[in-house]
Symmetry: C2
Subunit: 346 residues, 2 copies
DNA sequence: TTGAAAGCGGTACCAT
DNA sequence: ATGGTACCGCTTTCAA
């Protein structure tokens, strides 16, 4: 059933039927009622391609997820983010087009999306430092929102970011206040902007307390369970081992936890453990009343929702000034941190 | 730059340019070369809506993820599955349209996708028993592939499933062979078809060994870390506690692990632990050489790839007979299982 | 080998 | 309040 057939059925012009369906005010209520009822009855839905061709809008948002050949780990965070975003899209009649592309094809993917007009805007995931996507998207004139920021990009753009630097600084300071001075930092890949900023936060906290930096206590790797395990093994095997850890993700924290378990070290007793917590739905940090890990918490799903709102707003009003939102993470005190155990003379 | 502009630039008709770009044989090689070069130079990409309108094909696949209001946990498995699928789509020029919809809107979502012609086929995720989506999609005439199966649906359809029943039967039998008779089973929600089949496998293994079924050793819940933790707490608190666990997912297993840790029980020594392992990229089961958990393993990402291939094949050849693929999971022996510790008189 | 022109199914401007 | 009609950009049949 297409518009022509529906209009013939109703003895109305396509124009009127279209107007009735799209809520134009000049249609009489009785006509509108007839039309909407007939449309529902015959399960009429306008052809997406035709609509997009006629209006110039595709009613779709592109989410491009870079997936490099070397580390093709799929970010568990991505799933929760798009769940949040799609809540918003659904309400506004937008669809979500997801592309997972190899790093090297990524810029071309954006050009393609823009030129084909298959999306009205894009969400930029996982910004790196000096991210080339941002100037490209600006030059393409395609509305976009960055989840995160990109150090070294001078252009203006919409972004929503967690204050990663401050979040990690805060949990590190917390560990320091408990007497820890050998604090292992298990970070994500530091070409990623968020990880770069977190590193800054860690270093800043050490500096503020006059604690020397030990490269052996800093790891930068993919945010996986084995990465956490490896880092913890290495940092606990040092002659002057870590007494506490700052971890970049609950997934990584699980790996650290496994190491502690293997070494018969009790969390929150022998070793303190603080984490960043994105509130991944399958891996909650205990219950709201009783968090397990001391953590800097910020919901990635809420970020997905908000980024989607910002993007739809930008699309609806292209001349709007760019929006920047910096969210502060919440410091959650769990049972995984406590004053340093005096296992050695200090 | 659209087709008309490009053709004017080249002093050719739109027809010829279109043919050159789409690989029609009648175009002379010299013309084709001129055309493709100009297209690349001007970054020409055909308008998606126009193409879809003209051809009737949208070159997009719909992935509809049900997300009920009550349990809005986002399956971490979903991320890996779509990563696999999108590899295949990318190669064939297909895009992936992801909708996360409330359970109650789901059937309408499929009708909408079909009527609007915004996708050429859909992937069905998370089939439940007697899943109403299958007869609906058959009646809509929209090509689809089910990741899993649906007990109680009589219609024919394309599916790819892991032999969930056999997989869980096998790991349970393995625990039984090690002397365990109090085996806790931490399952997913049993209205889901895969969980229902796994339950069967568990029960079948017990029956085969003449072990009585104890409902207190069976839990069915969302596949989250806390669910694993709760189940393990309950089953270890019984007067005749579990000595081993069969878990439905690595995520759940992590929760069980936490319980054991809290109770100072050593994995693979005091308590045995076997799992289903979907090979989620952020949560690998140790390394290939040294798996941590004894598990029934089957890559969800590979399933995503294969389901995508099946779906594109169905779209390319709509009269093809339905395909059914039943994958056997691999039994992986890790260090988490061993012969029962004789802690009690038995 | 190339081109003209009729759709594809809507939307929106201009009339009435 | 309703209708006629010219697009939107591409594909494809038919003609040359």
């Amino acid at each position: 059933m297409n518009l022509r057939e529906l209009s013939e059925l109703l003895n109305l012009s396509q124009t009127t039927v279209s107007r009735a369906l799209n809520g134009y005010p000049e249609v009489s209520e009785s006509t509108r009622k007839r039309v909407t009822e007939a449309a529902a009855q015959h399960n009429y839905h306008p052809n997406a391609g035709a609509q997009s061709l006629a209006t110039g809008r595709s009613m779709a948002i592109g989410h491009v997820m870079p997936m490099s050949a070397n580390h093709e780990m799929v970010n568990v965070i991505f799933a929760d983010f798009i769940a949040g975003a799609s809540e918003i899209y659904g309400r506004s009649g937008y669809r979500m087009v997801v592309s997972m592309v190899d790093d090297k094809d990524e810029l071309q993917t954006y050009r393609d999306l823009a030129q084909r007009r298959s999306v009205d805007g894009v969400m930029v995931h996982g910004p790196v430092r000096a991210d080339p996507r941002i100037p490209l998207l600006n030059s393409l004139g395609l509305p976009f929102v960055v989840h995160g920021r990109s150090t070294g990009v001078e252009a203006e753009y919409n972004w929503l970011d967690v204050n990663n630097r401050r979040a990690i600084e805060q949990v590190t300071e917390h560990l320091i206040s408990l007497g820890h001075r050998r604090i292992g930092f298990v970070n994500g890949m530091e070409h990623m902007d968020f990880a770069f900023r977190r590193r800054d936060g860690y270093l800043s906290a050490l500096k503020g307390a006059g604690i020397p930096v030990d490269p052996a206590l800093m790891q930068s790797a993919e945010m996986t369970e084995p990465a956490g395990h490896n880092a913890a093994c290495a940092m606990l095997g040092l002659s002057d081992p870590a007494t506490a850890f700052v971890s970049s993700s609950i997934v990584v924290t699980l790996g650290i936890r496994r190491t502690l378990e293997e070494m018969n070290l009790r969390i929150g007793q022998d070793i303190s453990l603080a984490s960043f917590d994105d509130e991944i739905s399958a891996l909650p940090n205990g219950s709201p009343e009783a968090p397990i890990y001391t953590a800097a918490r910020s919901s990635v799903r809420a970020a997905g929702r908000r980024c989607a709102e910002l993007l739809l707003g930008q699309i609806a009003n292209p001349t709007r000034a760019n929006v920047h939102e910096l969210w502060e993470a919440d410091l959650i005190l769990g049972s995984s941190t406590r004053a340093i155990a005096r296992r050695r003379a200090g």
